[in-house]
Amino acid sequence: MARQIYDWDYSNYPGAKKYPHVFSPIQLGNLIIPNRIKYAATEDNLNSHDGFVTDEDVAYLRLRAQGVAGGICTMQGVYMDERRYGQGYVGQAAAWDDKFIPGLKRLADAIHAERAVANYQLMHCGRVGGVETPFCEGPSAIPQRLRLFKPVHEMSTEEIEISIQQHIDAARRGVEAGFDIMEISGIVGYLISNFLSSYTNRRTDEYGGDVYGRCKFMTDIIRGVRKEIGPDIPLIIRICAWEQLDDVGGNTQEESMIVYQEAEKAGVDSISVTVGWQESIVPVISRDIDFGSWLYQAERARQHVKVPVSMAYRLFHADMADQAIAEGKIDYWENCRPQIADPLMPLKYLEGREEDIRWCVACNVCLARLFRDAPMTCYINPTCAHENDPSYFPQKADTAKEIMVVGAGPAGLEAAWVAAERGHEVHVYDTRDKLGGTIIDAGLAPYNDDELYRIIEFHKAQCDQRGVEFHLGEEVTAEMIEDELPDAVILATGATMSTPTFFGGDGDNVITLKEALYESKPMGDNIVIWGNKKPAIGTALALAKRGKKVTLVGKERTVGKDINPSFRWRYNMFLRQNGVVSYNDCDIEQVGDGQAILITYDGHRVPVTCDTVVIGERGPNPALKDVCRENSIEFYQIGDCVVPRGLSGAVHDGYKIGLRV
């Protein structure tokens, strides 16, 4: 007899009418879930290094549980061995002993407090594990493709049997902690996927051989866990539909479907479809991948198994999920990064508050942080991982102030709405007649960079709701500040373009990034861009797409030093694909008709064909600072005008100053 833990009536919510499939119930095993939303397991590195759950992790998860509006909320995967070979992240929760149950129970209780369904995940990280040990472990000692990961110790048969029992024991602890669903992670290079893949499993014993043999470790775990947890707790497994390891002899897509069928036969109630490994050389979830690109894999999986399937990868929006459910491509919708960026995203859909959603920009800085043993951070959400700290959230100001925000870019707008939320009267000025500042220009770069503008749409909605007044097309001058004498000024004027320091830098063939992007000044076919950070890279790609031959010249040692490592490799690939040559650790020495002479950090000179130089180096902007100081006005500088950085620096600066002003 199927049961439902919490009753949810969505009939009066606008989102339920707009997305009827997403907000309809689904049965997993013997459990009815009120909607078809699942927050997927996300490591956050917030727990203690010995695996105990912390207040920070509980607060982080509770907010996501609130967001799923009665759906499934998954805790991060637990490692299950005392040796810690299975631990892939320094702040990963553990479940190798009963002493961890009280902490795990806090997570289950936090999810239940929001009337959501608590999902517990078992995750031995396999060849991605051993984060604090000299080795990790796997079915075979296949060398690591990425230097980041530890050498692999080949598991003996005895060690395999122990590991299976550890999964079963950890499952029991999850049930005792009060979780409603059990999930097994076998994705991206974690232990179960290592056993499944022909790339990493070369064993000739019963746990290796053909795809059926390679499934044995997984099916033994499924059967053991199923026996332990009984028939009433749904059992989910996450496995790859396509490993994206064809270049190193990984499973074929046909073999992956056999894996799915074996998992179903062994007793899972649902399968979460994923694509790619950490070691794949093709991108899967970065911004350049179009939304819904992997749905065909979920659809394929659905054709091979009868149990419900779900998917997360680049499926950020409810309309896409609703349509995919309607068309029978997935049974329910998973998301992870969108709820890192906005924990309440699905709830906002339900309540018809889509304009309040702070959209993930698929930059993968969250992953970059985790792999560098740092706590979770979100590029676009300043409160991420601070859920347990009330000082990180707007409180009413003691005194309402009249605040002038100069600059309607992401920094200024973020500060504006947060300050207005606190009760201040806020006026935003910008010389442009459109909101967005530099993000308008950044959105002209290819590979879906136009998605970045969605943060501005979020800002506009927040400002509008709180009565922020916009003064667009209006330049703020020193006289204006002196006349109006606001209580506080927030300078978010953006960076200035650097003055060329090279010989010939004042020529007609030297133009700015904006002039190049909008083609407001004539350009030749051979472009040298002075700068090798993100704005220069975006412009280089945009110009290359328009048929220009582009060369980047920058003082940073590597191109894209200001881009997080989990996304930088994508830009390096785009530059190569578009024939953009990059001279790093380098400067321009002189420019003349048809040629630029570059000079390396150690004085070597290189001639490059050049019709036009584009200034891509930026500097701080001290404008209006003095007038504020001289008039004793409380003032703040935020975003690129302090130090040119990126969207994240702007948003985080803006948020913090919005809290402080």
Binding site: A141, I142, P143, Q144, R145, L146, R147, Y199, R202, D246, D247, V248, G249, I281, T501, F502, F503, G504, G505, D506, G507, E589, Q590, V591, G592, D593, G594, Q595, I597, D602, H604, R605, V606, P607
Partner: protein
């Protein structure tokens, strides 16, 4: 260069001389290559010294080459592509590239058998360096061979292919060139 307007704050650079630039760069590149070898022998000497009386010089040397071979293999893994044809040739190209970076004149010689190639070192700076540091030629051949075998063993393990390499000729043995045969053994 066309005439540009003078600016008081920007000094006019000296004229560009391509030959001078290339000569300077080339000298630096060779100097860096020499430095790699000097560092190898310095570390080897330190290891033997630390091992104390009765240290097995050959064992220490081979261990050093083994570590170099293993690390070289790691840099090859991202470039191993089983989904492309000519695996043997591709791996041979990786070896060629590594040794060129060290200052050797080395080329790939195809065989009639598509699963076999020869790598020919027409000139290699390592025997000279061995002489300079008083290390025997026999140990040069053994060390280099050990590094290649180690690298290939790891690449073979990674790629799950029976790749083999053998030394056919060696400069330190007075044979004029180093020649290595690299082949894929039938399954």
């Amino acid at each position: 260069m066309a005439e540009v307007q003078e600016r008081p704050d920007v000094k006019r650079p000296k004229p560009f001389d391509a030959e001078a630039e290339i000569t300077k760069l080339w000298a630096k590149c060779q100097s860096a290559q020499d430095e790699i070898r000097r560092t190898f022998f310095q570390c080897r000497a330190a290891a033997i010294d630390m091992a104390g009386d009765g240290a097995d010089e050959e064992a220490v040397t081979l261990k050093a080459w083994e570590m170099k071979g293993k690390d070289t293999a790691k840099s090859y893994f991202p470039r191993v592509r089983l989904d492309k044809p000519n695996l043997v040739e591709n791996i041979a190209k990786l070896f060629v590239s590594s040794w060129r970076n060290q200052g050797a004149v080395v080329r790939l010689q195809k065989s009639e058998n598509p699963d076999e190639v020869f790598i020919v070192w027409e000139r290699c700076p390592w025997p000279t360096a061995h002489k300079q540091y008083g290390v025997s030629m026999a140990l040069d051949v053994a060390g280099c061979d050990h590094a290649l075998q180690t690298t290939l063993a790891d690449v073979a393990l990674f790629a799950n292919r029976k790749l083999k390499i053998e030394t056919v000729k060696a400069i330190p043995r007075g044979e004029g060139a180093c020649v290595r045969r690299l082949w894929l053994e039938a399954e």
